[in-house]
Symmetry: C2
Subunit: 385 residues, 2 copies
């Protein structure tokens, strides 16, 4: 397998982007990524998108995006693993370049989530759960993660204040990210008293509905210098794992086996230990998700993640900086784009281009992107080449 | 890149399968494919599915299918390129094994199309076209292919009888395929007088709505003998190309550039010429599609495909046998599964296991799987190892 590098990245300010269509979002991010490189011909595209069908009535996403990028005849594949679609697209692109099949691959992610009416977005997102056994019986994602939060709090004695430390930290970080959807400071008290969504999860525990896209350019490491003036970011490890799609089939609600399996495999491939990681972007779709993921990745012992978050260990200047971008909570969560944007944040961090949210001495970074209630997880490990 | 082989294949009899769910369909096909091998551990799965969201309210398809296959923690990726999703999944699986990232890959395809009510299937299928510029204005797939048929007939003087020769031949072949949805003989006269759908296309010009799945197992060619007693089928070439998603943006309605680009690339990679191909499965979603594809692949000169079909040149005993399986028209067209099932038919043909529909001396085969009105095309070339 050839060494593979990220040589260009691009996105846009995420939010409720009424003036931009599904295709516009993707093309804007793709052109921004291409603009960081000297690439004039793409060999293949992989596009993470969870549900073009339900959100905008558009499938055949590879074809439409290649077309509107002006890259007629280009091979283009849409990749889906619910909210881990972006991570899965990055894995597919990495393998394509590593294999020698393609030299230049564009990995993108896109979701246009605000064009549905009523409970359309909740319904579309629920298709990441088990339709027949969970959704049909009324489960929604806040409800499923609320079950995990309740089990965690009961088992480990975690407090409401500890849970709230996660979105407070992520909003502090997002304030420093000009592309974040919600650039505003929030307090533990505000999270604790925000509107209840699914007990114990309140509105400020939940990542938002977002329109947005993200894109990055991959090439063989040996071609990186010729194709971009930016420091090449080498992908050291890439792994994906699934778990039962339904929460009720899990042996335990307070850990995430797909996260464990995918991170152990990616770290092994990278020849790294979790303590070698200087900066991490994880899938904080709900406060409890970041806490459990931080444990399943191995940063903290089982049951210690909530306390660690409250003690500031995951802040930008903490021992294990997590989600310097602001995470899904503050940056936004256009589901198909999230995994790609995580890799973009790590690229900025490893290049030393993260501005006020820069983690000091960031040499090795990791991304963890999750589908559903942990039914799939994709982990990447990367470093400055 | 490592050489890659197909070592096991499986599907079920396709049709309106009310007693089988989305997940059941996939698992049945996957177990049938595994049953042809000695594989006890899969490294990754790629599953072609066009619109789990719109057909059955289920995305996160990799996770649910790995779960119900009993393969917890397995990496699993859903791949989409509208009706070419199966071909795109095969391409992704091929690259994964070729790269050395995975040894054993299951490539599947699945669609459960009959669980929607009213015009739900027509709406879901229309998401393969340009939602904003075609579908919003009332275009459906029979309508788009009717424009191609009308243009072709006008330009080349093709007759109604010539068009009808395609479904007549495909039903003759499907009669010999125990897994085909419609195992019944039809005549040119019956096609000519069947219900009009979109002038000039009649109901017997159109592939049906189908429930079904298909799966195959890939491994490095060097491991094939150890893992299966079946003859290994080596994948020689794999290529994908897109074209404008919207028909109105094409330079010409009577040829398919994505088919030309993808087949030339796959043949080049295989070191073969189109005249080396002994048997081909093509994407006959409508009669006109098989005719134009047979020209764009290079079997016949531009404008000569209709005449060739009427002259029997594409029959099982013809010069260029096309769709011995019965094609989409007779075998059925569960969109995400079609591309995988094409590779399964070629596997049967190259193994000499196609029974009464066996093409004599079939040594090299090809599949062509298409998305939308030709917005994407995936071509594979394979031979007995």
């Amino acid at each position: 397998m050839r060494d593979v590098a990220i040589i260009g990245v691009g996105l846009q300010k995420w939010g409720e982007l009424w003036e931009k269509s599904f295709r516009n979002l993707f093309v804007e991010a793709a052109l921004n990524a291409l603009g960081e490189t000297k690439v004039d011909k793409i060999d293949h595209m992989y596009i993470g998108c969870m549900s073009g069908g339900l959100f905008v009535g558009q499938e055949h996403i590879g074809s439409i995006m290649a077309d509107y990028l002006g890259q007629r005849y280009l091979g283009a594949t849409r990749v889906e693993s619910a909210c881990a679609s972006g991570g899965a697209a990055l894995r597919a692109g990495f393998i394509d370049v590593a294999s020698g099949m393609s030299d230049i691959v564009l990995v993108g992610g896109v979701e246009k989530m605000t064009d549905v009416s009523g409970d359309g977005a909740t319904y579309a997102l629920a298709t990441a759960a088990d339709q027949e056994y969970e959704v049909y019986n009324g489960a929604t994602f806040p409800g499923l993660y609320a079950l995990m939060a309740r089990a965690y709090m009961e088992k480990f004695g975690a407090t409401r204040d500890q849970l709230s430390a996660v979105p407070v930290k992520n909003h502090d970080n997002g304030l420093l990210n000009p592309n974040a959807q919600y650039q505003m400071k929030i307090s533990v008290n505000e999270v604790n008293n925000s509107v209840m969504v699914a007990d114990p999860l309140r509105i400020l525990d939940c990542s938002p509905i977002t329109d947005g896209a993200a894109a990055l350019i991959l090439c063989p490491l040996e071609m990186a210098k010729k194709l971009s003036d930016k420091p090449a970011i080498k992908i050291l490890g890439s792994a994906m794992a699934t778990d039962t799609i339904a929460l009720h089939d899990r042996r335990d609600f307070t850990s995430l086996d797909a996260v464990k399996v995918s991170s152990m495999a990616a770290l092994k491939m990278a020849g790294k230990n979790v303590h070698d990681i200087n900066v991490t972007e994880v899938h904080d779709c709900f406060s409890i998700a970041e806490i459990i993921v931080s444990e399943s990745l191995g940063f903290f012992a089982c049951g210690k993640g909530a306390e660690a978050a409250a003690n500031g260990e995951t802040r930008i200047d903490g021992k294990f900086p997590i989600n310097p971008s602001g995470g899904l909570k503050s940056k936004g969560h256009p589901v198909g784009a999230t995994g790609v944007a995580q890799a973009i944040e790590i690229t900025y961090q490893l290049r030393g281009e993260a501005g006020k949210r820069q983690v000091k001495n960031a040499k090795v970074g990791m991304t963890q992107n999750m589908g559903g209630s942990g039914g799939s997880s994709v982990v990447h490990v990367m470093e400055v080449a």
